[in-house]
């Protein structure tokens, strides 16, 4: 007796729960409207845009994974794009507008009704899920031409493509002339940047000038004379860069005042020591042995590169 009473109570509670859930479910999706263009007069290749407005109770939001994906729906219908516009919550009601773009490739022989299938959109409030059913939409498609065109009516047959219109070349000509003018200008700028002729005498690039002069002095078989000329050329570059005579003891101060040459300090030191030996120790051969001509030209090139990097 007692057991049957308990069973009856449990059954009553379960029924109440199911009922509540059903009530909730029926109350949650408030409306689903499909707005469509005319339902007739479509031809092969036409694009059909459907607009679905869904309204749900506030805490529920659309589960984006449940939306249809752009794809081939069936052999004659493509879904080209899907866009969801969240229109926000008003009076405890959240509304969405889904824009769907279909394209039909059906080739009917006579006017024929076709249906774009419906789909289900899932809503969720974090725990519960409910479904909004979007109904199918039917429309009428028509053929483009007769099934069997009559003889002697060539215009009823497939027509030739329209001949391509001649494209205007004026813009291309303008662009070509512009590029033709810009190229020498850019090349001139590049020559200035690298201090090539005729910018090789540029005052702002003493080391670039020195590199050229050193290379010239050290061309071919190097004798003491050419070596000394190379040293002097580089000395003049240091003087010009510092704005005054730079001596061996000033090397450190020079590097400190022009940090772009900081990496080259050991080479600068070697250069000054070699120059001192060559000019004041009257020992050019010894200087050439300690700081060979190719080291001199390398130093000149690296100084020119460092100078270029700085300006």
């Amino acid at each position: 007796m007692y057991a049957s009473l308990v069973l009856a109570r449990v059954a009553a509670v379960m029924l109440a729960v199911i009922f509540t859930m059903m009530v909730q479910a029926s109350a949650q999706v408030r409306s689903v409207h499909v707005q469509a263009p005319r339902p007739f007069g479509y031809f092969i290749g036409d694009v059909i845009r459907l607009q679905v407005d869904i309204a749900v109770d506030a805490p529920f939001t659309i589960v984006s994974g449940s939306l249809p994906k752009p794809r081939s729906v069936n052999y004659w219908l493509d879904l080209r794009s899907v866009a969801v516009d969240d229109r926000g919550t008003r009076a405890n009601e959240r509304s969405y507008r889904i824009a769907l773009e279909y394209q039909t490739f059906y080739a009917p022989l006579e006017p024929r009704a076709l249906t774009i299938p419906g789909f289900t959109v899932t809503m969720s409030d974090g725990s519960a899920r409910i479904a909004a059913e979007v109904p199918a939409w039917a429309f009428l498609m028509s053929p483009l031409r007769e099934i069997r065109p009559q003889q002697g009516r060539p215009d009823a047959l497939l027509r030739a493509d329209v001949a391509p219109p001649p494209a205007s070349a004026a813009q291309a000509v303008v662009v070509a002339i512009g590029c033709g003018a810009a190229a020498p200008a850019l090349f001139g700028a590049l020559a200035h940047y690298y201090a090539w002729w005729p910018f090789s005498r540029s005052r702002r690039r003493p080391f670039a000038r020195a590199r050229v002069a050193t290379r010239r002095a050290l061309a071919g078989e190097v004798h003491a004379e050419g070596y000394l000329a190379g040293l002097v050329a580089l000395h003049r570059a240091f003087d010009a860069a510092a704005g005054r005579t730079v001596m061996a003891e000033d090397a450190k101060a020079f590097v400190a005042s022009a940090p772009t040459f900081g990496r080259l300090e050991p080479e600068i030191e070697r250069f000054f020591q070699a120059s001192r030996r060559a000019f004041f120790g009257a020992d050019p051969e010894g200087a050439m042995a300690s700081f060979p001509p190719n080291a001199l030209s390398t130093a000149a090139a690296r100084l020119a590169a460092a100078e270029r990097a700085a300006t």
């Binding site: 040293l231 003049r236 005579t245 001596m247 001192r276 000019f279 120790g281």
Partner: protein, 343 residues
């Protein structure tokens, strides 16, 4: 060969002593390393030195310390307006018996062995004294008691303060030209050194300070020989000789080297000066500096280091610019060194 090696080892040995001299003097005078280096150069070039600077920067202390470190006999005299040349040579007094006596004065009291003659406040002495000094410095001799006294080892140190102009006599150009160097002694700028000078009791008693300097580090009678050896042993290459002549020309005709100084008409600035004697002094000083740096060749840095002290007082400016002389000459020397390319 043996002779050369001997000379080399002797020079190396003397270099050590020169360093020791600098070190000893720097114990008494701190924060004046450059001045001490220049005075050392003058000692080893056998040149007379004029120090100038503000009152109380340590000119006299420095010279006393150097004199002590060099050793040899040393005499000192203060320049005053009533000092006459005879006061240097003769000492006139009344003897114990009441009779007037004339005995040798401070200059010749020790005969020819005098090593350092130290003239304080030289610009307070009269031109007559200056002219005596001129002969002493140029020829190393004076005439007294009807005979000539020679001073083969003599070096004259003089100082003057440049603040006071009253009751002073400007040194004639010829006397200034005899000075090997005119060294300006600046007041120390380093705050740590200033603090030490003010608070360290060591610097309060000058006599005690000087007595701490080790005496007789170098043999003053050998200095002349060493100086000659340095001048022979240190090489000045052809490139350097060209450099010196260019430098000389740049000081005499700065406008040709594109040198410009603010508010100065370069065409009329330099009247003359930078005498051949000055240039030869310059080379001498540069050789000694090279030797002190341990080199056997003169490099332009040596010349630059001593250029102002050796040359500045030999440059004569248009009288219009004399009042601004200090700044102008300094800028001129610097501009000349900056303008002349080397090598």
């Amino acid at each position: 060969m043996l002779l050369t090696r001997d000379a080399d080892t002797t020079l190396a040995d003397w270099q050590q002593r020169a360093r020791a001299l600098e070190h000893e003097v720097s114990k008494a005078v701190i924060g004046q390393d450059r001045v001490i280096r220049l005075v050392t150069i003058a000692v080893f070039a056998r040149g007379h030195v004029l120090l100038e600077g503000d009152v109380g920067v340590g000119k006299t202390t420095l010279l006393r310390a150097v004199a002590r470190a060099i050793g040899g006999l040393f005499e000192r005299i203060e320049g005053t307006i009533d000092l006459m040349p005879t006061d240097l040579i003769y000492h006139a007094h009344l003897g114990e018996d009441g009779k007037p006596r004339v005995e040798p004065g401070p200059l010749i009291r020790h005969g020819g062995d005098l090593s350092i003659f130290f003239f304080n406040e030289i610009n307070r002495a009269r031109p007559q004294v200056h002219s005596l000094l001129l002969r002493l410095m140029a020829e190393g001799s004076v005439t007294a008691f009807g005979r000539e006294y020679r001073f083969p080892h003599l070096q004259v140190f003089a100082d003057r303060n440049r603040v006071e102009r009253e009751e002073t006599f400007e040194l004639p150009a010829a006397a200034r030209d005899r000075f090997f160097m005119e060294i300006e002694v600046p007041a120390p700028v380093n705050p740590e050194i200033r603090r030490q000078l003010a608070f360290d009791p060591r610097f309060h008693d000058i006599d005690a300070l000087i007595s701490r300097v080790r005496g007789e580090i170098v043999d003053h009678s050998a200095l002349a020989t060493v100086a000659r050896a340095i001048q022979v042993g240190v090489r000045a290459s052809e490139v350097l000789q060209t450099y010196i002549t260019s430098l000389w020309a740049a000081v005499r005709t700065p406008q040709e080297f594109g040198i410009e100084i603010d508010g100065v008409d370069m065409e009329r600035l330099v009247l003359g000066g930078a005498s051949p004697r000055g240039v030869s002094f310059l080379v001498r000083a540069a050789r000694v500096r090279a030797w002190l740096e341990g080199r056997d060749m003169v490099v332009p840095e040596d010349l630059r280091e001593v250029f102002f002290e050796v040359m500045a007082h030999r440059i004569f400016l248009d009288p219009v610019y004399e009042l601004r002389r200090d700044r102008i000459v300094r800028e001129l020397c610097k501009a000349a060194i900056d303008a002349v390319a080397v090598p």
